[in-house]
């Protein structure tokens, strides 16, 4: 009897509150809008029922919901599409809208790649260190789409903003980067100076240990070479030349090329975020710091490590001994090979012509005699 009464009461209350439930089973109890009436959003339906007082269906379709009625602050600009971009519901959904901090929300970090991926191909991101941290490790602090591109004002981040953008999470690195030659140049407005993404990539950012990473020890030399073997940049900023070619012919370079992962690469000696020119006393490659830098791999490295050049093409000015030994051998090799070739040729010629020659001697024997 009690149960029956309760059911009746609920039924009558419902039919009083809203006619929607007569037809729709839509349940907003899990939504951020659970306290909002259907009619607040579907104003045209509410108006229809208010006027007609009929429980017959409202005309379809209803007008699109105007979220801006309440969320007037959220002006959406979506990249090049601007205000003509996707509507609120494309990202946030409809009746099951949840706050972004709720892991089940379509705009939560965990679901953003999927949500944005409805339009934007995002395969690369899912494989990146950020994507994997989110989906595999469940790290909510990892960067998802909106962390770099923004939420309601979606855009391609400007190069000038990138260090600070990445520094939102990688704060410690930002501090180091700002002290480096790249960071200083960037700060001074040198637009060619590399920012995070120039070395690490964007959506493809991978863990350094991964072979996919552009800064993996086996690949980093090629990455640095994008600028340090670029003749335009070398000329413009008066950078030292032949950085990659001389590295490649060093033992370090050769071992690295053939997959020896512990061979020294650019970053092993020059540092990563703290790269400084060797003239700077703070640089890891400054003469006085070389014993320490080389000592990371070469136990007992001392001052003798610093007496000489490191990946510079030998010339009479620096490394004269190396230069002259190389010169001597080049001369020796070409001279010797030339002599061999000549002697072989003469030998073969002699063997070929010896028969004919005998006649010559018999004709005029005194001429060739000593």
């Amino acid at each position: 009897m009690f149960a029956l009464c309760t059911a009746l009461i609920i039924a009558s209350e419902n039919s009083d509150a809203s006619p929607c439930q007569n037809c729709h089973e839509t349940n907003l109890s899990n939504s951020v809008h659970k306290d909002v009436d259907c009619g607040d959003c579907h104003a045209d339906a509410a108006e229809y029922f208010a006027q007609k007082r009929s429980s017959d269906g409202h005309p379809v379709p209803l007008k699109p919901v105007a979220c801006m009625t309440c969320h007037s602050q959220q002006i959406t600009k979506h990249g090049k599409a601007g205000e003509a971009g996707p509507s609120c519901r494309d990202c946030h959904g409809t009746h099951r809208i949840l706050t972004p901090s709720n892991p089940r929300a379509s705009v939560s970090k965990f679901h953003l790649p999927e949500t944005c991926g409805k339009c934007h191909e995002n395969g690369k991101y899912s494989e990146s260190v950020h994507g994997k941290a989110l989906t595999k490790k469940g790290l909510v602090v990892s960067a998802a789409c909106s962390d770099c591109h923004g939420a309601h004002h979606v855009r391609v981040p400007k190069k000038t903003d990138i260090p600070v953008l990445c520094g939102k999470c990688h704060e410690g690195i930002l501090i180091v980067y700002e002290e480096s030659i790249h960071g200083k140049a960037h700060h001074e407005g040198v637009e060619e100076s590399p920012v995070c993404t120039d070395c690490h990539g964007e959506h493809t950012i991978a863990a350094v240990a991964s072979k996919e990473s552009s800064v993996n020890p086996l690949r980093v030399s090629e990455t640095c070479a994008h600028c340090h073997e670029n003749h335009t940049l070398i000329k413009k900023f008066n950078l030292p030349t032949q950085r990659l070619s001389t590295y490649k012919e060093s033992f370090h370079g050769i071992a690295s090329k053939f997959g020896k992962g512990n061979a020294a690469t650019c970053a092993s000696c020059h540092g990563e975020h703290d790269v400084l020119p060797s003239k700077d006393p703070k640089s890891r490659t400054h003469k006085k710091n070389l014993p320490k830098t080389c000592g990371k791999c070469h136990p007992g490295a001392g001052k003798f490590f610093a007496q000489g050049t490191v990946h510079l093409q030998p010339s009479p000015e620096h490394d004269p001994l190396v230069y002259y030994i190389r010169f001597f051998y080049k001369l020796m090799i070409s001279g010797m090979i030339g002599t061999f070739a000549l002697l072989i040729f003469i030998d073969l010629y002699g063997r070929r012509t010896r028969g004919k020659r005998k006649d010559v001697y018999e004709d005029e024997p005194e001429e060739p005699e000593e």
Binding site: K260, A301, Q307, R326, M336, F340, I344, R354
Partner: protein
């Protein structure tokens, strides 16, 4: 005239390369091949064969092991060789045959003039002609350079604890270029002299059985022939001339 190896049994032969020498030569070949195969991929790191060879050897780590194994063999051989020279009177006598003399220079010029038809007879060589002396001395010089510089490269941390890096770099450059020089000398010069030239093509067999026929000895090392047999062989009686030009001495 070409010697037919099959007819050797019926000919008088002399021992030119005794077993001890042949073993040393075999060991030298072994170490040379190991060193070249494991060294050239470093010298020519960009060449396609380098990747292939490294894969074959099992990577950089193994390459280093193979190279050092070859080095140890070469060093052992050199010690054995030097030991022989120091302690064996016979070897001391033999090594004198390799000393360069003025005659080698005149022989070389004579050889060229002979081939160009400006001299009627070839030079009269002793046990080792100027080519063989040059090859021996080149191997000796090359081994010294390669072993010394190679040792510096092998123990880089030890040497760099008292040796400036520019000197170490010099050792590396010398090692690298000397290797190319040695390799080319073998491939071009030695192979022509013992494999490819029409006298011995496809190969002189001396390195295998150590024997030289009396005819060959007379033709190529007439002074040695005279010393062994006690006969005088005038220029006109050299085998090539008697074979091709009839019995008439010039």
């Amino acid at each position: 005239m070409r010697m037919n190896p099959k007819s050797r049994k019926n000919e008088i032969v002399h021992m030119r390369m005794p077993l001890a020498h042949r073993i040393q030569h075999w060991v030298l070949i072994l170490s040379f091949v190991l060193l070249i195969l494991s060294g050239m991929p470093v010298r020519y790191y960009d060449a396609p064969f380098s990747g292939f060879l490294l894969k074959l050897m099992g990577g950089m780590q193994m390459r280093g092991m193979v190279h050092r194994a070859g080095a140890v063999i070469l060093i052992g051989l050199c010690i054995f060789h030097l030991g022989g020279i120091i302690f064996l009177a016979r070897a001391r006598e033999e090594i004198k045959e390799f000393f360069p003399r003025l005659k080698d220079l005149t022989d070389a010029i004579h050889h060229v003039f002979y081939n160009l038809g400006r001299r009627p007879y070839p030079p009269r060589y002793g046990k080792y002609n100027f080519i063989e002396k040059f090859e021996y001395l080149a191997v000796a010089w090359g081994s010294v350079v390669m072993i010394l510089t190679g040792f510096v490269l092998w123990h880089e941390n030890f040497f760099l604890s008292f040796m400036p890096k520019w000197l170490w770099d010099a050792a590396r450059v010398a090692h690298s270029y000397e290797a190319v020089l040695a390799f080319l000398a073998i491939i071009i010069w030695h192979f022509y002299n013992v494999h490819l030239n029409p006298d011995v093509f496809p190969m002189s067999r001396i390195w295998l059985d150590g024997k030289i026929t009396e005819e060959e000895l007379k033709k190529h090392h007439v002074l040695q022939y005279e010393k062994i047999t006690g006969c005088d062989v005038p220029d006109g009686n050299l085998p090539e001339h008697s074979a091709e030009g009839g019995d008439e001495p010039f």
